[in-house]
Symmetry: C2
Subunit: 196 residues, 2 copies
């Protein structure tokens, strides 16, 4: 009775379809007609499951943001030397980006046209600031180079990590999330140059 198997849509399964289309065409470039074609149900049927287009967006970016913020509550992100906590957060960010790829992709592309989008942008900024403070602490410890501004370095590192959503595809053989996380950590902390 509780979780009887249904072959119909739930708000969650519909969301996974919608997010894919949003990422393909862009949120503004996606019409409810596009969604209905992709989901295989009529346009009006969508409104039986969700309140509208913007609710789909809100659910998606919420899921992405929740996944990111959970990182900061984990033990390894809270205790220990700042530079090690930073490395842990970077690695976990890559893991969340890859495991929640379509949702994070959508989050990183919101422009701020609606109230929902502006709320998403604000929460993103909060997360960025939390990580920036971590890097600042690592710099104060002397574990991170001091010749690059903390704010600037944070943005560049975020840029590298967030670029995952532009090219990472989970089905690519020989390129697991773990391998990407290792590469990101190596490049972020060690750089491109050969260490002889």
């Amino acid at each position: 009775m509780t979780t009887a198997k249904r072959d119909t849509y739930t708000p969650e399964t519909l969301l996974s379809v919608a997010v894919q289309v949003f990422n393909d065409r862009g949120y503004d470039g996606t019409s409810m007609e596009h969604l209905s074609k992709a989901a295989g149900i009529s346009k009006s049927s969508i409104y039986h499951h969700v309140a509208g287009k913007e609710e789909l967006l809100r659910r998606a970016v919420s899921r992405a943001l929740d996944g990111l913020f959970e990182i900061l509550d984990e033990e390894h992100a809270c205790v220990g030397r700042a530079v090690e906590r930073l490395e842990y957060v970077v690695r976990r960010m890559v893991e969340v980006l890859t495991s929640e790829l379509p949702y994070v992709t959508l989050l990183l592309r919101v422009r701020g046209n609606t109230a929902t989008e502006r709320w998403a942008l604000e929460r993103r900024r909060d997360f960025d600031h939390r990580v920036a403070e971590l890097l600042k602490a690592a710099a104060a410890d002397g574990d991170v180079r001091g010749d690059v501004e903390v704010r600037l370095a944070t943005r560049l590192v975020f840029g590298m990590i967030n670029s995952l959503v532009e090219w990472y595809r989970p089905d690519a053989r020989g390129m697991g999330a773990r391998e990407v996380a290792d590469a990101v950590v190596v490049l972020v902390f060690g750089g491109l140059r050969q260490e002889s």
Copy 2:
């Protein structure tokens, strides 16, 4: 007679206004009504200068792509050790990104919904491949670490550089294009860790 001063719009001046609005609201999220408000002329007047919305997009991404491809033709990008050519290209990319910021921003956000957008994506891929070959050559020379896949490293470095369009603003005091270029080169090649 040749370049008599006019206080009216040309396709170029109109483009600079349009690109700003495109970047604010997203291309699909921008209506011709939005453009007319921002430009201070009526919607129909826009069509006196350009063929339509898509031509504005094509002009903008063309300008960005031309600026990027010109880098590869410059002397320092063609002669010398691969790792040094790579460093030059990275530095010049940052300069082009900052000097042509709104146009490159628009370029990096096209999704591929129209023929124009797909053409832009294809040219972008060409450019990426050219730089990837440079990094590959540097790896063959032994000047770049071999424990990270060339393709992966290229994408991550591009991600860091391209993220400029998400936060760099030319009016920010104390943060010139030169300073950003230096920081990018330092981080890309040397990494975040303190070199003692």
